[in-house]
């Protein structure tokens, strides 16, 4: 065909340097995944406390900040380890550059982790009154137990920008057209709902049936909306040349195609049906299985979406 023999369609690179491969890899995926858990349990915990009596979820007051604290420290650890100069992390606080979402996010995440730590310490001492009963510090903490309730609203409020700021970093990554701010913001929020509800399901054994129904509902809704957004992005993001080129590569059976569909099936489709079924019938085992799949699927999906735009040559 003549169109295959004209210059316009036959440009080939015959010599060039080796291009960078994946720059942000699994550590950033783990970072995002852990942050979704850390903020998600607070957001979903707040929702449950708003909807139900505290007596329906007796352990929530101390398990919520504890889980969040662990997840946030995993997130912070891998943020640090991913830096090639981790000891210079201090420069973010000594020389902050406020146009960078990395800077704003680091400050917010630090404050958020501080608040969560305070909540964890207070609720821990309250939950275990015999622990260090005669210790002066413990007495002081127990005496200021109401601080927990005072800082909780601020913590919930701060959990929203902390979970969203990674989407702004992705939006500021101008070289990766696949990451569009509106969709990434929603995906981050839905990831937090997904991870938060899935994680709380694991500790909901002793909670009331109604609470577990709510957790199943949140999980089902968040995986459904997140799945729909991924489908929309995966099949119809064709208005940006570089996004189209990225997806065309994956569509053609390229790298990460299998991982993407595994993530969609295991992490979104199956948990949706399991969680939906659980809204009617309280089956703790199935709900826990849905939660495990959702957390695995979320990691796989985030990993694919992080890596595929980095496969594109930029120059």
């Amino acid at each position: 065909m003549v169109e295959h023999t004209i210059n316009a369609t036959n440009a080939v690179v015959t010599m060039d340097v080796a291009l960078p491969g994946i720059i942000w890899g699994w550590m950033i995926t783990l970072n995002m995944w852990a942050k979704s858990i850390g903020t998600g349990v607070v957001l979903i915990g707040a929702f449950l406390l708003y909807r139900h009596k505290k007596e329906d979820m007796p352990s929530l007051r101390w398990t919520m900040p504890l889980i969040s604290f662990i997840a946030l420290n995993v997130f912070l650890l891998f943020t640090l380890v991913d830096l090639h100069q981790p000891l210079r992390m201090i420069n973010i606080f000594l020389h902050p550059h406020w146009t960078s979402a990395i800077t704003v996010g680091a400050w917010m995440a630090t404050i958020f982790t501080g608040l969560i730590t305070v909540m964890m310490v207070i609720s821990g001492f309250d939950a275990f009154p015999d622990f260090r009963r005669h210790c002066e510090v413990a007495k002081t903490v127990r005496g200021n137990s109401d601080v927990y309730e005072k800082i909780f609203p601020f913590t919930v409020f701060l959990a929203i920008p902390v979970t969203l700021y990674t989407a702004v970093i992705m939006a500021e990554s101008s070289a990766r057209e696949l990451w569009q701010a509106p969709t990434e913001l929603m995906q981050m929020l839905l990831a937090a709902f997904m991870a938060g509800s899935a994680t709380l399901i694991f500790i909901s054994d002793s909670w009331s049936k109604e609470v577990r129904k709510d957790l199943a509902l949140v999980l089902a809704m968040s995986v459904f909306f997140s799945f729909m957004m991924y489908m929309g992005e995966y099949f119809f993001s064709f208005k940006a040349a570089e996004a189209e080129a990225t997806l065309a590569f994956v569509h053609s059976g390229g790298e990460y195609n299998i991982q993407f569909w595994m993530a969609m099936s295991l992490g979104f489709i199956v948990p949706f049906f399991l969680a939906t079924a659980n809204i009617k019938n309280d089956n703790k085992t199935l709900l826990r299985f849905a939660a495990i799949l959702a957390l695995i699927g979320l990691y796989l999906a985030k990993d694919v979406w992080l890596k595929i735009p980095q496969l594109l040559p930029l120059s």
Binding site: V12, H95, S174, P313
Partner: protein
């Protein structure tokens, strides 16, 4: 003063003299490039032609790398150069994710981000960038684009309508211009990459960011550990070392690690 760069692709003959001069002047480690010349073949035999495109940092007026840098390691100089302070860089690679031109690399010796600075140290001493001096056909034109009488300004005026920048749709306002370029030479999506396009090897993608031997633990210990002279030996055959069992017994220092 606002410094800009213009490359006349009609003059460039792909000698790579600028590439080598840049490497030598800035001691750019192996596997990394501040400036590279890409060869693109177009057409079919007998109507085939080869085109050369030098690629370097565009020193954008609205630089995404400067915006995303959390510690202002990437910053503007008064003359418009987007400079990098490797002493402050935390090496988060945010700039590498933000630069639409792929012009930033992680230096495998310092493990910090680096890129073309238009040879800011030479400019400061009243000299031209090394690549400009080395070009045998004066295809690289460098100067003050705010000065109407500078060589670059006059060149731009003489070639009105034919002056292009890469990816104008990104609104980065690059200060690096091309004359004689086309979509196939300036748009990376308009040409195909066939595996094995390298000159001396068939490595098309690096499998590491920064120093491949810089483990997670090394990242924390590097400031306290003594550094042997880094001679880049590990990068000469970085692909082969993974296959060659005889190299397994080498010490970490021998491999060029920190």
């Amino acid at each position: 003063m606002k410094l800009g760069f213009l490359v006349d692709l009609n003059l460039c003959m792909g000698c790579k003299g600028c590439e080598v001069a840049c490497k030598v002047e800035n001691e750019v480690p192996l596997s990394s490039w501040r400036l590279r010349v890409k060869y693109i073949d177009m057409g079919t035999f007998p109507d085939a032609s080869r085109h050369f495109t030098p690629l370097r940092c565009n020193h954008c007026e609205n630089a995404p790398c400067e915006r995303i840098c959390p510690v202002s390691a990437l910053h503007y100089l008064e003359n418009g150069i987007v400079n990098v302070d490797s002493e402050r860089c935390i090496a988060c690679a945010g700039c590498m994710m933000a630069c639409p031109y792929g012009a930033i690399y992680m230096d495998p010796e310092t493990n910090t981000a680096d890129k073309c600075t238009y040879c800011a140290h030479r400019i400061e001493s009243g000299m031209m960038p090394a690549c400009v001096v080395a070009c045998p056909v004066e295809a690289n034109i460098f100067g003050d684009i705010e000065d109407d009488n500078s060589h670059i300004s006059r060149y731009i005026m003489e070639h009105q309508g034919g002056v292009q920048v890469r990816k104008p749709e990104k609104h980065t306002d690059p200060k690096h211009f091309y004359v004689g370029g086309g979509n196939q030479t300036l748009n990376p999506l308009a040409h195909k990459r066939i595996e094995g396009y390298g000159l001396f090897n068939n490595i098309t993608h690096l499998d590491h960011v920064g120093d491949p031997h810089h483990s997670i633990l090394d990242r924390f210990l590097a400031p306290f550990a003594s550094h042997g002279a880094s001679d880049n030996k590990s990068f000469i055959d970085f692909k082969q070392t993974t296959d060659d069992n005889s190299t397994k017994d080498e010490s970490h220092e021998d491999k060029g690690g920190h």
